[in-house]
Amino acid sequence: MTTSSSQVHSLAVPNRRLPRISLGMLLVLPALTAILLLYALPLARSLVTAFRDSSGAWTTDHVVRAFSLYGRDMLFSVGVVSVSLALIAAISIAISGYLVLGATPWAVRLLRWLYRWPLFIPFVVTGQIARSFLATNGMMNNVLVETGLMASSSAQSFLDWRGLVLTFAWKQVPFVTLLLAGAMAAVDRSHIEAARNAGANRLRCLFEIVLPQAAPSLWVGLILSLVAMLSVLSVPMMLISGNPTMMTAMMAHRITYYGDYGIANALGLFSYALTAVTAWVYLRLTLRREATA
């Protein structure tokens, strides 16, 4: 009975199905074209360019030179990004934890309203704010001197790796917090109450019950932040004068002053590799967790 009806159905289908498939393709096409033209193609081109000399022959020259010329900047980038990620993770966990477990309702409401603001401020503006805040005569030092917490003679500029770390953290913490706080809020309330009932204080609840369950969102947030920090140009350009600096600044330098796409792309290759490795580690972690669950 069912087979015969399905046969009848499948006989009737071809006429109807063909236009449906082409309609589906039509709907996907704009997105697919955009990805191919605006993302896949430039990526492939930049990868190829990193391994070709001016005559078009294959070479590893650019990669070797990129490492010898900008090895310090690469290490600097990795260092700044790692410290920033640690700081971002610590602050996001603290804020999200308080949003979920805080016992003072008005403070929780205030924090929930406040923490998102940096999300709406572009990197270039953030760089400008950081400059006027962290410079030797910036607002931070002025406030510290005015309030008598620091002697004016010991005022120093933070416009170095510390400035970068603070600026990146300031810009990325809201983003990671948004993801993490959402994931923490999704943790079943009774899991938290069961832990407190068992004798866990709120801090232990955060680290032993809530965070382990929300960790995947933290990793996603940190990986996306890593990509953002490795690709932003304005902040290192505005905060850091001289060497070493972030790789993006060096890539821009290579292109604007020398028109040297080969070495710039070789530097880009390193950025890809770094994000790819992190993404791979993350995927492995998720897969393992799903396999055990």
Partner: protein, 346 residues
């Protein structure tokens, strides 16, 4: 830690300008099994959460043994709660779930391992230590949740509808298992339930709640036979109420209304003395497994009764209830004769 008495004195809870619990007084003796029973929204879960420390009081005092726990955070109250959803932590194995309360109390690893194994044996889940909680069945999860609560030897066990998510057969077997375990441990237990049968079977003392107030505190038998008022009676399966007539039995001669249960009312049986009788037309006849439930349309109300054989719709039938099964209520809908003082708290 030994088991302790629980005393609630004028416990009042307000949430967003709404009174959820209204001046609750309750004494729970050590080692007893108390059920908080009532319809949804009556405040029974809120009361349990207030005892556990998850709902702040606006007034009143909660004492566990000699000490007041009113102002302690949940983690310092040492009560053990089993949640309706079991609330097992999915990122921990069965063993880690059971061991976490011990870990929080600084019990060394080896000792923890020993006690987890002993608890699993007791729950008849021996060797389940390294299983993921997501792989367990509903009944197994329920046992692990109970084990996690009991492993710290708490002075007070709080159960929030622990059996409501299980299917009927498992629920029945776990009911007696839970009661046996509670008796053998002698632990003071408070259980929230909306299931009157569960409460009657398990409790030493039932606290019947309605609209944030305690209506009646009594032993199961007393509650069943002498419900405080018509509302309580209806909640406990008294489906039928009739206005008293002249010729009705003289029990509770001041009664304005009689209540009785469907299974106590028989249809078309030889008339006996001292019974309440009503005549009506049969409007429905439903097979219930151990007989037929008959709906009878009398002049004053629709009544339900039990018959051994089916009865044709539209025919007239006589319903008969023995005097002993009649529950008399006064004009104010309260039970007659007045209940003993110590049972009538409200």
């Amino acid at each position: 830690m030994s088991t302790e008495a629980l005393t609630l004195n004028n416990v009042t809870v307000d949430l967003r300008q709404q009174r959820i619990l209204d001046g609750i007084h309750l004494d729970v003796s050590p080692g007893s099994f108390t059920c908080l029973l009532g319809p949804s929204g009556c405040g029974k879960t809120t009361l349990l959460r207030a005892i556990a420390g998850f709902t702040p009081l606006s007034q009143g005092d909660i004492r566990l043994g000699a000490r007041s726990i009113t102002h302690l955070p949940p983690e310092k109250r040492h009560t053990a709660m089993v949640f309706q959803s079991y609330a097992l932590w999915p990122h921990m194995s069965v063993g880690d779930n059971l061991g976490y309360p011990l870990k929080l109390r600084g019990v060394p690893r080896a000792e923890r391992k020993r006690r987890i194994a002993a608890m699993l044996e007791r729950l008849e889940l021996g060797g389940f230590e390294s299983r993921a909680v997501t792989q367990l069945s509903g009944g197994q999860r329920q046992r692990i949740a109970l084990g996690r609560a009991l492993i710290i030897d708490p002075p007070l066990l709080l159960l929030d509808e622990p059996l409501s998510n299980l299917d009927a057969a498992i629920r029945r077997s776990l009911r007696s298992e839970l009661r046996r375990l509670q008796k053998s441990l002698g632990i003071t237990t408070i259980m929230v339930t909306h299931d009157q049968e569960e409460a009657l079977q398990m409790a030493d003392q039932i606290v019947l709640m309605r609209a944030g107030k305690v209506i009646q505190v009594a032993a199961p038998q007393t509650l069943y036979q002498q419900p405080a008022d018509l509302g309580v009676a209806r909640f406990l399966g008294v489906d039928n109420t009739v206005t008293r007539h002249e010729q009705d039995p003289t029990v509770g001669s001041r009664a304005a209304t009689f209540g009785f249960r469907t299974r106590d009312a028989r249809i078309n049986e030889p008339l006996r003395p001292a019974t309440l009788t009503r005549k009506g037309r049969v409007t429905e006849c439903v097979y219930t497994g151990d007989g037929y439930q008959i709906s009878l349309d009398t002049n004053e109300a629709e009544l339900f009764a039990t018959a051994n054989s089916p009865i044709a719709l539209g025919t007239f039938a006589v319903l008969q209830v023995p005097e002993s099964a009649l529950i008399p209520f006064g004009p104010d809908d309260r039970h007659l004769p007045p209940l003993d003082r110590h049972e009538d708290i409200a």
